[in-house]
Subunit: 212 residues, 2 copies
């Protein structure tokens, strides 16, 4: 996708009588994507439909944003492509998934990209951003990937990944937003030791009510 | 405190040459309390100091707000006195503390007071309210009470209750703010079964790193 820079999109734009400038095309794609993702969610939105709405060739969308996931990350203004972190989910043994999730995610939060992520989450929690976009991102992008990994497609699986999400949001708020000590300055390895088993139990352990 | 309505405060106000109206005195107490709690935190602020700042008798503070805790709840605009819920912490067996915390707190969130609490938390997370007040409330009012119950005054105890706080904030966000299904509409008893053991492990279980 790094070859043929802009050519497809520019040609097509000429043929259809529209020729937005570079930044104009990028902005048009983002605007179209925001509307589509917000209306239909992540899964049911195609790059082709977004390109049509924006009046550009799909190749130009890929040129600017890489994958649909990258485009989505740009729409919700995430400073990192979540795919880099999410790839870990597919590559580690199932019984080590919990500790790997907390380790990978805290590494991103503690990185230079952290403040940008905190700003996005803050804005979502405050209700400034579209809550449908936030829900789509959490449910269809992040948690869906985890759910596929634990391979339980039923309500039980959805509950498991939602519980994981709840603990991760809580760690973000405690460590980065309210800055509750000692969680704010705790070494990442301590956090992994404390929270990893929680996530692992939510993913693969017993979470139901005891038989009475 | 429900007897002698206003008499102490009114008399003193007359003697000191100041006589704010009923609502004026209440507002003056709230303003003084907000400043003091924000500057010095919950523990180091006395009702007497707030009363002096507001130019009223301490008895009037108690008359309007009950305990210092009730006054604090009014300052952070909590629609319920947290003491009602916090009392549960002192009364249940230590090994059942985790499930009782999630049960009691979710009951309040799901009650008619819930939307008011969600509004307060949203405002804090968005950074509209004073973060020092939020931190004070969480650290000195809620978590301190739990920490005393598990009776570990060291850093370990502070980490334990902060972890409990992180999971509770996460459940609130997932269930009430972003409304991630199935957590948003999950029966409270399912939530207790899933999250109770997490809290219990944070409070009394092994949360450190395995010896290598």
């Amino acid at each position: 996708m790094t070859t043929g820079k802009g050519s497809d999109g520019a040609d097509r734009a000429t043929r259809t009588g529209r020729r937005p400038g570079q930044s104009g095309a990028r902005a048009a794609i983002l605007a179209a994507a925001r509307t589509r993702f917000s209306d239909a969610g992540f899964d049911k939105t195609s790059v082709r439909a977004i390109a049509t709405d924006a009046g550009v060739d799909p190749a130009l969308v890929h040129h600017y944003f890489g994958t649909k996931q990258g485009l989505f990350a740009a729409v919700v203004k995430l400073p990192v492509d979540p795919d880099t972190t999410l790839r870990i989910i597919d590559s580690v043994p199932l019984e080590e998934l919990g500790e790997n999730i907390i380790r990978a995610v805290v590494a991103v939060w503690d990185s230079p990209a952290g403040p940008g992520i905190v700003a996005v989450v803050r804005s979502i929690l405050a209700g400034n951003d579209d809550p449908a976009l936030a829900r789509t991102f959490i449910l269809e992008v992040v948690l869906e990937r985890v759910r596929q990994r634990i391979a339980t497609a039923d309500d039980d699986g959805r509950a498991r990944v939602a519980l994981v999400g709840s603990q991760m949001i809580g760690v973000l708020v405690a460590r980065k937003i309210i800055a509750v000590e000692p969680m704010a300055s705790m070494p990442a390895s301590d956090l992994v030791a404390a929270v990893g088993p929680t996530l692992q139990r939510y993913l693969t352990g017993g979470i139901g009510q005891k038989p009475s």
